[in-house]
Every structure is written in structure tokens, then in C-alpha cells.
């Protein structure tokens, strides 16, 4: 076991993690805190690189715009579950966030005057919904790639220290007279199988989402919700887990993302008969309605028999009228994805698409400085979260396109600064003697387990039940089915065995660990979804089709009961299943926008 000591420890090297690292090392004003970044990949492999369409900021480079309109769109896009103070901060700081990236060297597309170019994106409008507005700053359809590369380049420039292929499997909390304080993290080094203990004054979780609970997803294989899972297992809350975004345009059957920027450039969704069906669902902004509305509309088209293809199970994204030049210069990557993976050339043919699991609106609850919360409002000192792993909540029940690249930059920076400043005024907290015990036990158990269950079987069945029962549309019955499946799979997971018993690059073992996180998060998602008897944003209940502000204008807080808590708190029995999950609720923050009916 190796031991390391840092001031600020950042877990995850995607956009949020690296933006936090840069802020911690160079912008915090604190005297050069020792900052290290741990990533289970290499930094440039992170899934920020898969983001395509852009990052919104009211620069008003190409038409009138202002950050207040952006705030309103974010709140309305989130179906009024968005915390309005946080949304305002994000929209206001968006402008500097984009300019900071440009100054770091990000190669944005340019206008004829040489300024950062902007394009339309779903749900982003002029003057509170009057028409689509050009707000998304972009670099072709590889904006996320450029952000990831630029942030990594900037980290190299500042000599930020990375531990690559280190899997963080636990966070260490030390009990003090003022309650628990974060004191370190435990990592597993892929190359050697060695356990490393990192002591730090502050720790920023930036580990991304958990799209791999679903079968059809735009997410990478590595998006297994490790950070959320670690937090949840400590008995700490996850917020708004039922809100999972399905991106409308995944390549049919594969889930590979085709950017909303395509529709921003004028592409149109059509059903089997060629009808532009979004005119019926969102008469004003049509194909540029927010993702929850477009995804639901697409599923309805298919359910009502207007889908295309031999199984009538997808719709078309029609780019043929955009012309080869627009596709090759502004949308080159998605053009290539369609050609490579479906053998379809978007220049000449419409592309089969269907919603794909894309983004977790929920996650570790934080305040606007990225400080993690251990209940509705108590800060857990020393622990921070930013990016998809966190829930600020700026996205409410449905995130607008481009607001994730914005979120990682704005709140990655804020978390990094806050973490560095906290480190500057704090001492290292002593680690408990048994700090690494949980991880050692988990690894040792998996290395020696002899049960008959296979990781791939449990994972496949989990993904199938989540796709069938907890995707775009949900009902009491489907969610109960999903919950009972997840419980059965968790039981089988107890008998899982891995074949690779070795120390070197043992991804067999780590896939088993990751599956454990996925199962816990699936249970949290389904349990909160069952309890939310309304339809709002990314959570659509066929049996409760309307938004219910009287009973559900509130964030869900989901806790896993620790063994010692179980006796005192009987399971809620929400569903007739025994569960070790406790639910609580938290009010939404309102500043200037009253909830209204959501029409586009």
C-alpha cells in the first residue's frame, strides 16, 4: 500500500475535473496548493470528448441575446425544477467561461468578423421563448473534443500532476466533533493492482455519469457512476436520480450520439411518411424543442405506428437539404459516424435515429461552490463535486443541450477554487486507521470469490430491464418490474466471480466493481422514479401524465440505509418490495420565475 499527501485531490479528468485542477492550481489565489488529478483512464479519453454541438453563452456575437434569457431557458427547460439561483450564476458566468477557453487556445469556429461563431440549439430562445436564438459557441461538431484537449493542454502547461489509470473506489471520511469531514481517497492502480491511500485537505469528485445502466446509450463503457456510487454507499444522499435524459438522436440500434447541432443547422426529424412531426408537438420551435419533449415525441410516433424501418422502430433525421458543404464543415464527425456505423450517407439519405440514454440530471447534491451536501443543506467539509456527477441543480428535470459543457466549465472552476481556498485555510485531517479496509475487502473478495455468476450476464440483464422499464416512458408496473429485476440481480451479484485473479491490468475485477456501482444507482433511479407520481422533464409517467406542482415541485433526496441504520428506519415499502433506500425531499430555489405551463 502506498501513501500520498496532497492539498487538493481531484477525482476524474474530464472537463469538470481538469477545469477544477486549473482553477485550483492557478486561479484560486491560494499559494500554489499541491494539486493532483486521479483518473481511471488517460485524461484525453474522458467522455467530455464525445460532446459535439457546443457550449451556450449569451455572447450576442451574431444576434441579440443576454444571460437573463439564457437563465430563463435553463429554468423552463428544466421544467421549473431547476434551482434558479444556480441557473443564474451559470448563465452569467457562461460568458467568461467561453472567453477563458478561447484564451487557453480553444479553436472555436469563427464569424466573418473573426469572432466566436454561434448557432441554434434546442430550447435556447430569444426573449423568453419567442424564437430560437444563436447562442451555442462551437467548434464544428467536436466542441467537447476541443474542450477536453484544450483543458489537458492547459494542465500540461501548468505542470499539473496526473495519476493515470488509477481507479478511485472509496472516499475517506473522518468523524470529528463537528460531524464527518473528508480526509482522503482510496485508489486502485490498474497497472499493478496496488492500493493507494491519498490524504488531502479537499477532494473534488468529477467522475461523470452512469449511462451504462442502460443498454442503448451514448455513454462510454467506462461511465459506471463510480463517484455517485461511492457517495451513496456512505449513506450520503443522491439528488433527483429519477431524471435521466434521453438524447433524441442516437444512431438507431447503436445509441451513438448525433448532435442536436444538426437540427441547430436545420436538420429535420421525420416519421415514416416523411412528415415533420415536431410541428405537432412544439409548433413554435419544432425540432429545436428541448430534448425531453423531442424524445417523448419520437417514442410516441413509434408507439402509434408511424415509425420507419422494417420493425417500424425508429424515425429519421433528415440532413439531405443541408448540402454536402455544411455537413462536411459544420457536422463532419456525425456525418462520418452515420457512414461508418450504419453505412448511410447523410448527404443523400435520412439517418435512422432513436432516443439514447445520455445524461444524468441528478447526482451528488452540491451548493453553487461545488461543496457536497450530506443532507438538504449541511456541507460535508472537504468534499466537492462538479459536472455530471453533481446535482447543483442547474438542469432541473431536463438539461438543455450545451449546458453540460457549460456546467463543467462554470462549476468545475468554482469547485476547484473553493477546494483550493478551503485547503489553504485548513489542516490535513487524520485518516482513520482502517481507511483502506473497505476497498481492500472488496478487491480481496472479488479476487477470491468462487460464485457461479458472471459480470457480463448480470450487466446485460440490468441494461435490458432498464431499457424496457425505466427509459423515456415509465409506469408503476414497468418501474416495479425494473425494481424487482434490480433486486434479483443484486442478489446474484453477491455470487459474482471474476476469472482474472492477477494483479496486472485486471480489468476483469474492475468491471465487477463497476457493475456493483451500476446496480446501486439503478436501484436509486427506479426507486425515486416510482415515488414521483407525475411527469416532469426527463421523467415521463404514462400513468401520471401531468406535472404536479402541488405535490412534486421538490427535489428527491435518496439515501441508502447503512446496516446500522436499518433497524431504526423501517423500509418505506413504497412498492411492496423491501428496500434499503430512504427518500426525502428538498425545496426548489425560486428567484424570479414563477412556474408556468411549458409550451414551445
Amino acid at each position: 500500500m502506498q501513501f500520498h499527501k496532497y492539498d487538493v485531490l481531484i477525482v476524474g479528468a474530464g472537463g469538470a475535473g481538469m477545469r477544477a485542477a486549473i482553477a485550483s492550481a492557478t486561479e484560486s489565489g491560494a499559494t500554489s496548493p499541491r494539486t493532483a488529478v486521479l483518473t481511471k483512464l488517460y485524461p484525453t479519453r474522458s467522455h467530455t470528448g464525445a460532446a459535439q454541438g457546443g457550449m451556450c453563452a449569451a455572447l450576442a456575437n451574431v444576434e441579440e441575446d443576454n444571460w437573463e434569457w439564457h437563465t430563463f431557458d435553463t429554468v423552463k427547460g428544466g421544467d421549473y425544477l431547476t434551482d434558479q439561483d444556480a441557473a443564474e450564476i451559470m448563465a452569467k458566468e457562461a460568458i467568461d467561461a467561453v472567453l477563458d477557453l478561447e484564451k487557453m487556445g480553444l479553436p472555436f469556429n469563427r464569424t466573418e468578423e473573426g469572432r466566436i461563431d454561434q448557432r441554434r440549439f434546442g430550447g435556447h430562445t430569444r426573449d423568453h421563448g419567442k424564437a430560437a436564438v444563436r447562442r451555442s459557441c462551437y467548434a464544428a461538431d467536436r466542441t467537447g473534443h476541443m474542450i477536453l484537449q484544450t483543458l489537458y493542454q492547459t494542465c500540461v502547461k501548468h505542470g499539473i500532476e496526473f495519476f493515470n489509470e488509477f481507479y478511485v473506489l472509496d472516499v475517506v471520511l473522518t468523524d470529528t466533533e463537528n460531524g464527518p469531514v473528508a480526509s482522503g481517497a482510496i485508489a486502485y492502480e490498474l497497472a499493478t493492482g496496488e492500493i493507494h491511500v491519498f490524504q488531502a485537505k479537499s477532494i473534488v469528485f468529477a467522475t461523470g455519469g452512469f449511462g451504462k445502466v442502460f443498454k442503448t446509450t451514448s455513454n462510454a463503457h467506462t461511465l459506471t457512476g463510480d463517484g455517485m456510487g461511492i457517495y451513496f454507499r456512505k449513506g450520503l444522499p443522491l439528488e433527483d436520480m429519477e431524471f435521466y435524459q434521453f438524447h433524441p438522436t442516437g444512431l438507431a440500434g447503436l445509441g451513438i450520439l448525433l448532435t442536436e447541432g444538426a437540427r441547430g443547422e436545420g436538420a429535420i426529424l421525420r416519421n415514416e411518411s416523411g412528415e415533420r412531426f415536431m410541428e405537432r408537438y412544439a409548433p413554435t420551435i419544432k425540432d429545436l424543442a428541448p430534448r425531453d419533449i423531442v424524445a417523448r415525441s419520437m417514442v410516441l410516433e413509434v408507439l402509434e405506428g408511424r415509425g420507419a424501418g422494417p420493425e417500424k422502430d425508429y424515425v429519421f433525421l433528415d440532413c439531405t437539404h443541408l448540402g454536402e458543404e455544411v455537413l462536411e464543415t459544420k457536422l463532419p464527425d456525425i456525418t462520418e459516424f452515420a457512414r461508418t456505423y450504419l453505412g448511410i450517407d447523410p448527404v443523400y439519405e435520412p439517418v435512422p435515429v432513436y432516443p439514447t440514454a445520455h445524461y444524468a440530471m441528478g447526482g451528488i447534491p452540491t451548493n453553487v461552490d461545488g461543496e457536497a451536501l450530506r443532507d438538504n443543506d449541511t456541507v460535508l467539509p472537504g468534499l466537492y463535486a462538479a459536472g455530471e456527477v453533481a446535482c447543483v441543480s442547474v438542469h432541473g428535470s431536463n438539461r438543455l443541450g450545451t449546458n453540460s459543457l457549460l456546467d463543467i466549465n462554470v462549476f468545475g472552476r468554482r469547485a476547484g477554487m473553493a477546494a483550493a481556498r478551503y485547503a489553504a485555510r485548513s489542516e490535513h485531517v487524520e485518516l482513520p486507521d482502517d481507511a483502506a479496509e473497505t476497498v481492500e475487502g472488496m478487491v480481496q473478495h472479488l479476487r477470491t470469490a468462487t460464485g457461479g455468476e458472471r459480470v457480463a450476464d448480470i450487466r446485460t440483464e440490468l441494461q435490458q430491464t432498464m431499457d424496457s422499464n425505466a427509459a423515456v416512458y415509465r409506469t408503476e408496473d414497468t418501474l416495479k418490474q425494473a425494481l424487482s429485476d434490480v433486486h434479483a440481480l443484486k442478489e446474484r451479484y453477491g455470487r459474482v466471480a471474476v476469472q482474472d485473479k492477477g494483479k496486472r491490468f485486471n480489468t476483469d475485477l474492475l468491471e465487477a466493481v463497476e457493475l456493483g456501482f451500476l446496480l446501486d444507482l439503478a436501484e436509486a433511479l427506479v426507486t425515486t422514479a416510482l415515488a414521483r407520481k407525475e411527469s416532469r422533464g426527463g421523467h415521463a409517467r404514462e400513468d401520471y401524465p401531468d406535472r404536479d406542482d402541488v405535490n412534486f415541485m421538490r427535489h428527491s433526496m435518496c439515501y441508502k440505509l447503512l446496516p446500522e441504520q436499518k433497524e431504526e428506519n423501517a423500509p418505506l415499502g413504497l412498492t411492496g418490495f423491501t428496500s434499503d433506500i430512504r427518500l426525502d425531499y428538498k425545496p426548489v430555489v425560486f428567484t424570479r420565475y414563477e412556474p408556468m405551463e411549458r409550451k414551445y
Binding site: L41, R45, A50, L99, N109, E113, G114, T340, D500, D508
Partner: protein, 261 residues
């Protein structure tokens, strides 16, 4: 777990791999090496079901999931943008998630065999895992970041569309190492910067906002720099992003010769 047996197709029970309708059987040969058991790398073969639309990566995942959990390889995004799964597929460097089985099928009724080996020139650590550190060290050595002196502008820098276009091609690099590890010069001399590092230097040398070209050109004028390039074009062929790698290297050479960016 017994140590892996030498090449012997019959020894691998692949019957647990789900075989969807329309799948055919292909043979995947993998250059395997587990330092905890093996003295040196050896080939093993697996007869596995495959759909024409499968990616090579799908087959590797199935072998790992249902036949031998010790098979180790990097992968993440699975659609060609993260650069994790660079490997030699039938002798050429490719991303396993961008090669479809339909493009590898043998002619006529012959059984298709797909050979998979780690990228060359970096130490093989286990199966398809190579040590990426030397690759990233070369990248870092060319100062792959914007260098600008003087006060920062309050708003964005102005850059014309033509100036932005000038370095567009080399901004696409995902640092997968397909190019560098396809280069014969890199194979014989690991201290050569290699194509990927030069591509990333190019990305900044030709960026009108950058003021660090001279520093970078000095670095690349070194004995291990651009002059080692023999314009074999392997790198251009290997690039999964379609970057004109050799052309970029030539442009850096010309900038050095004519002191002109």
C-alpha cells in the same frame, strides 16, 4: 485460473458467447501476453460469432466476457473519439471500435481470420495494453499548448476564418498513437518524437494566436525531431481521424527551412 495455453483453438470454449441471428463464425487471433504467467507473447485463437455490423471491439468484449476474463485491452467511448483502443488489426494500426467485421470478411466461403496485436514500438504490458507514458512524454515535450505573451485581451481574440482553417486538420488529433506506432523510424528509435507529437506542435505553430512557434521549432529541429521523418506515409494511413499527418510534418519541416509560418 490456469495459465493461458498456446495456440489451440479447440481449447477455447466459445459456446457461451451469444450468437445473434445472422451471425457467422470468424476466428480472432490475439497476440497475448500476461507478465504474471508468460515469458513471452504468443498467439491464441478464438472462433466467435460475429455480425457483419459488429466492430472488432465487440468481439474482444465478448471474448473477455464469455471466454477468458484475463484478456485485457483499453476501451472507452466505442465510437472512435476517445482513442483508447488503438491496436494492430490484420497488421495495420486501427481503432478496434472503428473497424467493422463486414470490411474484413474473407472472399468466397473461406473462414475469416482477424489478427489483433498491440501497437508496436511501445512496451507490451499485458495483452493489448502498452505503456503509453513514452508517447505522452513526447507529446508534452513539444509544448502542446497556446503560448501568448503580453496582456490577455478582455474579449476573445479575433481570428479570421482562413486563419482558423489553417490548422483545422491537426486539431482533430485524439492522441490514440496509431500514427506514432505505425512509424518505422519510431520502431527503430523510440526517442524520435513521432508523428503525433509533431501533429500537436503543428496545431499550435500554425495557429495565428500563438507566439511560441520559434520555441517549438527549435525543439523539433533537434536530432530526434522532424528530420528523422522519412515520409513513409504509414502515419497518414493509420490516422483514424483522417488527419494528413505526413503533410503536417512536411509543413513543419518547411517552416524550419524557410523560417516561415
Amino acid at each position: 485460473m490456469a495459465s493461458p495455453t498456446p495456440t489451440d483453438t479447440a481449447a477455447h470454449d466459445t459456446s457461451q458467447i451469444p450468437a445473434p441471428e445472422g451471425s457467422i463464425t470468424v476466428t480472432v487471433r490475439i497476440l497475448r501476453f500476461n507478465p504474471e504467467f508468460d515469458d513471452e507473447p504468443h498467439w491464441e485463437s478464438y472462433d466467435v460469432p460475429a455480425l457483419p455490423t459488429d466492430r472488432v471491439l465487440n468481439l474482444l468484449i465478448n471474448i473477455k466476457s464469455y471466454v477468458d476474463g484475463t484478456l485485457s485491452f483499453r476501451r472507452s467511448c466505442a465510437h472512435g473519439i476517445c482513442g483508447s483502443d488503438a491496436m494492430q488489426i490484420n497488421g495495420v494500426n486501427r481503432l478496434a471500435c472503428k473497424v467493422l467485421i463486414k470490411d474484413l470478411l474473407a472472399k468466397g466461403n473461406k473462414r475469416t481470420t482477424i489478427s489483433v496485436a498491440p501497437i508496436k514500438g511501445l512496451p507490451q504490458m499485458k495483452d493489448l495494453y502498452v505503456d503509453m507514458e513514452p508517447f505522452f512524454e513526447a507529446f508534452k515535450a513539444v509544448k502542446p499548448y497556446l503560448i501568448a505573451y503580453g496582456n490577455e485581451p478582455t474579449h476573445e481574440r479575433i481570428q479570421s476564418q482562413a486563419d482558423r482553417e489553417r490548422f483545422d486538420d491537426t486539431t482533430k488529433c485524439i492522441l490514440c498513437a496509431c500514427c506514432t506506432t505505425s512509424c518505422p523510424v519510431f520502431w527503430s528509435d523510440g526517442s524520435y518524437f513521432g508523428p503525433a507529437a509533431i501533429v500537436n506542435a503543428h496545431r499550435f505553430i500554425f495557429d495565428s494566436r500563438d507566439e511560441g512557434s520559434e520555441e517549438r521549432l527549435d525543439i523539433l529541429n533537434d536530432t530526434e525531431g522532424v528530420w528523422r521523418c522519412r515520409t513513409t506515409f504509414n502515419c497518414t494511413d493509420a490516422c483514424p481521424r483522417g488527419i494528413q499527418v505526413t503533410k503536417a510534418i512536411q509543413e513543419v519541416k518547411q517552416a524550419l527551412l524557410f523560417k516561415r509560418v
